[in-house]
Symmetry: C2
Subunit: 233 residues, 2 copies
């Protein structure tokens, strides 16, 4: 059961992108699909400006003209890919929180860490593209986030409220909900981004990626759970 870190074989970190024909969007050609996934991969590692159309075409094993046939321009292609990624990123968080609607906060926390690390750990390109956008100033992100918050359903805010309630109920120590959330998410995501560095400290992670993910979950949970236990003194 020891799978290597995805960097080894390509295409492994984009994950199944478009679920079946759920009628929402016009069905995509297989070619269109291939382009989209290849674009995600290349944009994720090279960034918007660093990515080359030819490289995307090569990665998708199709003619470069097809990129423009289906997506008109590099900007439009990037926009579509990023928009998709943002919502995937958002949804991952949302679902992790939803399933975390457990009875105790401790259980919710455990469920969140489990689902979040699982999803992002297997869709690394989604995270990478997101981070790429951070590095470039995140103008697009702020735009998308603003739109998201406007819906009143912004998952991070919801989770922060969940934490706040646990504090009020005395279920956990009085932490700042927003900062605790930031620390939590940091502990989930950063090790995945910084894998090239982390793996020099934890070499086994390269040959047993799944094991690494599980170890991260366990160790992060151990520290955080203890870190917010209410004081009975």
């Amino acid at each position: 059961m020891s799978e290597r870190h995805p960097e080894a074989d390509p295409a492994a970190t984009s994950g199944g992108l478009v679920s079946g024909p759920d009628g929402a969007e016009a069905e995509r050609t297989e070619t269109e699909e291939r382009i989209f996934e290849a674009a995600l991969r290349v944009f994720a590692r090279k960034g918007r400006d660093g990515a080359r159309m030819q490289e995307i075409a090569d990665e998708a094993a199709i003619n470069k003209a097809m990129l423009h046939y289906y997506f008109r321009s590099k900007d439009r292609l990037y926009a579509q890919v990023f928009h998709y990624v943002f919502h995937r990123f958002d949804r991952a968080f949302f679902e992790a929180v939803e399933r975390a609607g457990e009875d105790s906060f401790a259980a919710a926390l455990e469920s969140f860490v489990d689902h979040y690390i699982d999803f992002i750990g297997h869709h690394l390109d989604v995270l990478k593209l997101m981070v790429n956008e951070f590095l470039d100033g995140g103008a697009v992100i702020r735009h998308e986030v603003t739109a998201m918050i406007a819906t009143g359903q912004a998952p991070p805010q919801r989770f922060a409220r969940l934490i706040a309630r646990a504090v009020e109920a005395g279920e956990i120590a009085p932490v700042d909900p927003r900062h605790f959330l930031v620390t939590l998410v940091s502990g989930c995501l950063f090790p995945l981004i910084a894998f090239p560095m982390v793996s020099t400290l934890i070499p086994e992670a390269v040959d047993d990626y799944e094991g690494f993910l599980e170890a991260r979950k366990k160790n992060l949970l151990d520290v955080l759970r203890r870190g917010i236990e209410p004081r009975s003194g």
Copy 2:
């Protein structure tokens, strides 16, 4: 005392790069210096391939030919900048650990978080360029790290041993030193990278960046210190 997040004014996140004429390297022209810092800024946000020589020249407010006059090619310029950044990144960690040579582990931890967040928080470009390299696969990083580890002085390993000793001494709960270190560093660095996202959750961070850094230190330390307190029962 409320300074805005560095994204606002340029040049603020590279920090003073080359310290005075300490004789180590041949002294640099003021122009050379300007190029170097501009290159760091542009590479940090656009990545190796995304960066344009013209953009670097513009940022440094000098003629593009000067880039080649002083650094021959884009590759060489990038190599020099990255090499510098890597060691700066490494040194920041090292110094944070050194100063953390306190009596108690708790004090050491506090000192580390304080210095590390301070330094990286004010040299964001160093971190950003590093992360850019992560996203692209980190081949260069692995190379540098291997060289670093060969010296036997690799700071991360040293800090991991420090943690291990604290565990053995019963000073802290029995955590996995390497994973605790990863969680610690994640909590320090990720919020700085993901600032565009974090600041939608913590809007004050934009107008009071220094305050944000202090809040991060405090909240991270609170959770981690409690998280590793030894159990007395």
